[in-house]
Amino acid sequence: MIRGIQFTGIASQEELSASPGVPTEERFEKGPVAVIECVQEIPCNPCEHSCSSGAIFVGEPITRLPVLDAAKCIGCGECLASCPGLAIFWVHKNYTDSTSLVEFPYEYLPLPKEGSIVPCGGRDGAFISEGRVVKIKKTRQSDGTTLVRVEVPKDYFMDIRTIVRKGARDV
């Protein structure tokens, strides 16, 4: 299968590496940071305005890819719920020696409970590892988009992006 978001609906590793919204390896080492997995030039800029640190730049025209100034990003996670494409994640790679925290938007019910162990999956929805739900965030500002934070094995901080809903299917 040809890889890439236009063919599969999943951003390829190449697309993610080329995205100006994805932090560098060094930045992940330094602490919590936003990961903007936006790889297509579409007319959209709410993320730019959601960031109170001025760390996200879209500019003109509005179809430019969001650029993350990872030095300015304080890892507050305010931008996650602002993205209509649910394409922004939050990652704290070095949460413990062996685990990372990953936060993602989740617009399904029922919601898991804080503290529960849930199956976590990747961009194709397939199971990767179990994770512990650390926090469930629902604010007025997030307007119905729940943010779920899970603690997962550190190996998967760039892979886990969701709770598994039903598992990827082989077709």
Binding site: G9, V39, Q40, E41, I42, P43, P46, G125, T162, G167
Partner: protein
């Protein structure tokens, strides 16, 4: 008839994003406005759009569609725009004072005389023919979206979505949110049609998207029981031996939209045929005015697009119609229109907007050619 007839400076047909935006701009300029809509509720498709909109922050992006609908409605109310619902328009009759718009209301024929008319009638879903396509359970994606988001009724337990444009992707996602499993999305083209971020949400939920595939048949006695799909070759013909069958009770068809142009035809507007805009569309100029003087068109009737651009087109038509009535002076109107055009052009940039930008340029170009 004249004695009892309603009068308005600007009559608008369609209370969706384009029509409401047109009414708001016109009323801000001081025009008396009447908006007619055949539906029981205003807002067009906005109230079933439960997702956050794309677009620019300044123009309500990041806000859910139904919230945008509520805001537009509130604004029309505050500005005193009269909205007549359950009022299908069936006839347009030119008059020396403007245009008489005939509609049905409570089973009676009514009419309103408008000096200017704005058509914001929207578009309708395209159909697709396949064996079993008439079985109950096969429906337009918009229909499924209305069922879950407006009426809160699940169309079925497990659906197959045909088409991966933004409508197909968004409705598939919303079906999953509502509790209908989506077995697969098939797309005849070699690429996903809609935004990648929408496709990614679907994939994260575990639903595959198969490009270069189509629906070949639906099986079932009295309702949909199973759906067959197959891979397509370069000539868009099913490749032998690639057929797969999914258990499903629902098929949603999201294969494009066609502008609802009947009233524009009736009024004698000149048309042009632009496939990427959905087919026949009324020719209009930069003011959204058609070839019939005083008759404007805005939103999906001029080519199927997003609500964000429909709102901008509506605003343009509202401003231009108010200007032609002498309610906004030329310089002021020019400034306003330049600003709207700038934001609309920005929404149409990028790879997804390129086709529409070219098609819209073609449409404006045809207005400049002598008919």
């Amino acid at each position: 008839m004249e004695g009892s007839m309603k009068h308005a400076q600007i009559v608008i047909v369609g209370a969706g994003p384009a029509g409401l935006s047109a009414g708001i701009e016109a009323a801000k300029a001081g025009a008396s406005c009447v908006i007619l809509d055949e539906n029981a509720k205003p807002g067009g498709q906005l109230f079933k759009q439960i997702h956050k909109f794309f677009g620019s922050w300044e123009h309500k992006a990041g806000v859910r569609g139904y919230t945008i609908g509520s805001r537009l409605l509130r604004e029309t109310e505050e500005l005193g725009v009269e909205t007549l619902l359950d009022a299908p328009v069936y006839g347009l009759f030119p008059d020396e004072k403007g245009i008489i718009v005939s509609y049905m209301k409570n089973g009676r024929e009514e009419a309103v005389l408008g000096k200017k008319l704005i058509l914001a009638t929207g578009s309708t879903e395209n159909a697709l023919a396949f064996p079993g396509g008439t079985l109950p359970g096969v429906m337009g994606a918009g229909c499924a979206q209305t069922m879950v988001n407006v009426h809160r009724v699940l169309p079925g337990k497990r659906a197959v979505m045909v088409g991966s444009g933004n409508v197909g992707l968004i409705v598939a996602y919303q079906l999953m949110q509502a509790g209908t499993d989506v077995a697969v999305i098939v797309e005849a083209a070699p690429l996903v049609g809609g935004y990648g971020v929408h496709a990614s949400k679907i994939r994260r939920a575990g639903t595959p998207i198969l490009v270069g595939h189509t629906i070949t048949a639906v099986q079932g006695k009295t309702t949909v029981e199973a759906v067959s799909i197959a891979e397509l070759d370069a000539d868009f013909q099913p490749r032998a031996g690639t057929e797969k069958t999914f258990e499903a009770d629902t098929v949603c068809v999201a294969v494009g939209l066609s502008p609802l142009t009947e009233l524009a035809w009736m009024a004698g507007c000149d048309f042009t045929y632009i496939p990427s805009l959905g087919g026949h569309v009324p020719i209009h100029n930069e003011n959204m005015e058609t070839t019939v003087a005083g008759l404007y068109a805005a939103g999906d009737i001029t080519g199927s697009e997003e609500a964000s651009t429909a709102m901008e087109e509506g605003r343009l038509a509202g401003i231009a119609a108010a200007e032609s009535l002498g309610l906004i002076n030329k310089d002021e109107a020019k400034k306003m229109k330049v600003a709207v055009w700038a934001s609309m052009n920005a929404l149409r940039t990028g790879p997804f907007g390129q086709k529409r930008t070219e098609a819209k340029a073609q449409l404006l170009e045809s207005a400049r050619r002598p008919q």
